[in-house]
Amino acid sequence: MTDYKMHLLICGGTGCKAAESDEIKKSLKNWIDELGLEDDVQVVFTGCFGFCEKGPIVKVMPDNTFYVNVKPDDAEEIVKEHLLKGRPVQRLLYTDPVSKKAISDSKGMNFYKKQLRIALRNCGFINPESIDEYISRDGYMALGKCLGELTPDETIKEIKDSGLRGRGGGGFPTGLKWEITRNVESDEKYVVCNADEGDPGAFMDRSILEGDPHSVIEAMAICGYCIGAENGLVYIRAEYPLAIERLKIALNQAREYGLLGEDILGTGFNFEIDIRLGAGAFVCGEETALIHSMEGLRGEPTFKPPFPSVSGYLGKPTNVNNVETFANIPVILNKGASWFSKIGTEKSKGTKVFALAGKINNVGLIEVPMGTTLREVIYDIGGGIKDGKGFKSVQTGGPSGGCLTKDFLDTPIDYDNLIKAGSMMGSGGMIVMDEDDCMVSIAKFYLEFTLEESCGKCSPCRIGNKRLHEILENITNGNGKEEDLERLKLLSNVIKDTSLCGLGQSSPNPVLSTILNFEDEYLAHVNEGKCPAGQCKALLKYEIIEDLCTGCTLCFRNCPVGAITGERRQPHYIDQSLCIKCGVCYEKCKFNAIRLS
């Protein structure tokens, strides 16, 4: 990247692409060509910057100016003012929500200040479709170092010393897993990358594959070298078309450069990677189910042991790691285990990527050292709760995790603390809820998800979760009884104790943690027939306040089921027998004339 004086980095993540970043690139290029700057300025697409809330984002290097919410029409001003005259376009800069000051350098933004990017190091800095840019940022150096200088055992020792634990949720020490797989005798072994990310609220694996696919490829090759495998497989969800495309491009480039294939870097080491597409089954994120799916079978889990490290794909020893885990490997080998193990807490080393979503100001991907508190994540990086509302809960760990209250805001986040708090790390999804969210409904939502994604093999998961869901359904419909709470707890514990795989064993967690932390809300539903958050539709109705209704007909026109009647300029009425309580009228009304009761 030395030939150009300036670089314009445009976020090419799907989020920003959907918001016209293609148009912006075209428009910037046109203006640059028109003003004859094409030899000095390069315009490139990069992976996701993580700050999706304010996309599309354009970054100007080397001065690190960070433009947010850019529109194609802004290109002219950026090129003429900033590139030509060196004056940043003030109105496109990010404004700090607290100090109201415009911040030009992204390093000054709270969102980035507390972050430490290891797995996401290249996301947003390089063009993910260019292997040269990856190489220019120390890419494939770790692979070269392993093949040239380190024995497999030395490499594994380095990973073990770093303290890296699996980032997919389980938290199993990565180095140990590699060592176990290495020590099993077999004529053939496999490296598998688990990119079947399906946790509601988690999207870091997608972003890494879209923003920095080579880091995963490099790490898989290193893993292959360590455990003695010549074949790698990436099992990726069919729901991620852009990630699949970028990965395919990256694989082809790596082959062209001789970094995959036969006799890599002249060392005699062979390694090849294939892509296997998932087909929409969450349970395939469980490693035994994933392996069965790759074998062409139904993606049902099987009992462990034998662990995949001993008997996996086609019965051969198979090392399964998650995308984020792999993305950490090259950095650990380049910077050393002692550097990595200094970051984080005693038992959880390094950083963790979290996906912030829900009722929080800055949604998107963040990466922080283990041990950062939830308060720092939600308030400092996340910018607090949307619309100035009160924080109620944060759900971590997806359908296997739990909902934490404000009492846990100062808990340092690591694998063990989250489990102690009744949740889990999971793959790192964090869904923030405010005072308007009903925790009973939230628990019901997660169960709906589990119900649908349960493979049906073992009965505690298949039938037990169905019964749990029915009880919750009754509660949210206003037909619950107080003894239902006890029944929920009892049944949840049976499901946890007796299910076959991780999906079933953790599926009651959202129920248990909401009962534990928000029992009063459950009691309000069953004893008083009330939903304190005003979410359970069966327990409330929409009404038009006659005195405030101006008869503007906006609600009438937007009602999807024709439940609203009334003459123009006359108060309107909602027919409760037709109303499906979708809330459109409530949102559309400009006069606050619709109330919930």
Binding site: T14, G15, L242, A355
Partner: protein, 156 residues
Amino acid sequence: MDPVQSLVKGLADKYGRTRESLLPVMQGVVQQEKYLSEYSMVEIAREMDIPASDVYGTATFYSFLETQPAGKFIIRVCKTITCAMKGKNQILFSIQDMLKIKVGETTPDNRFTLLETNCLGWCHKAPAMLINDEVYTDLTPEKIREILSGYIKKSI
């Protein structure tokens, strides 16, 4: 050889005829035909020498392997928690209203199929949907009208 037979044969030649190739072959058929008909499943079974019941059993396990006839454009609306919190229902209503079909149905002209799906990984840009391989995020009823009008024009 009819088109389905030659499609299956071509895919089996490309991916192989062992059990591991079953998913790629089925995905290839779905890509071309939009769904796995009983006939195509029997053909896959014959070509790959796998019991037809096994092919059916595997196909029905995966939600992206349709076994019901589907339209040219398959709309998959994310129904998972963040999208639901951010108004997925309104999105569904406006699609249903515009295409006059319910979830799980296909328009009579075989152009659109409407389905719900689990997390698409766009929780920070909710609500989201997929139309075939295209992702659409930050949806509003207005945006739906715009996007679908585009597809309606495209498919004429």
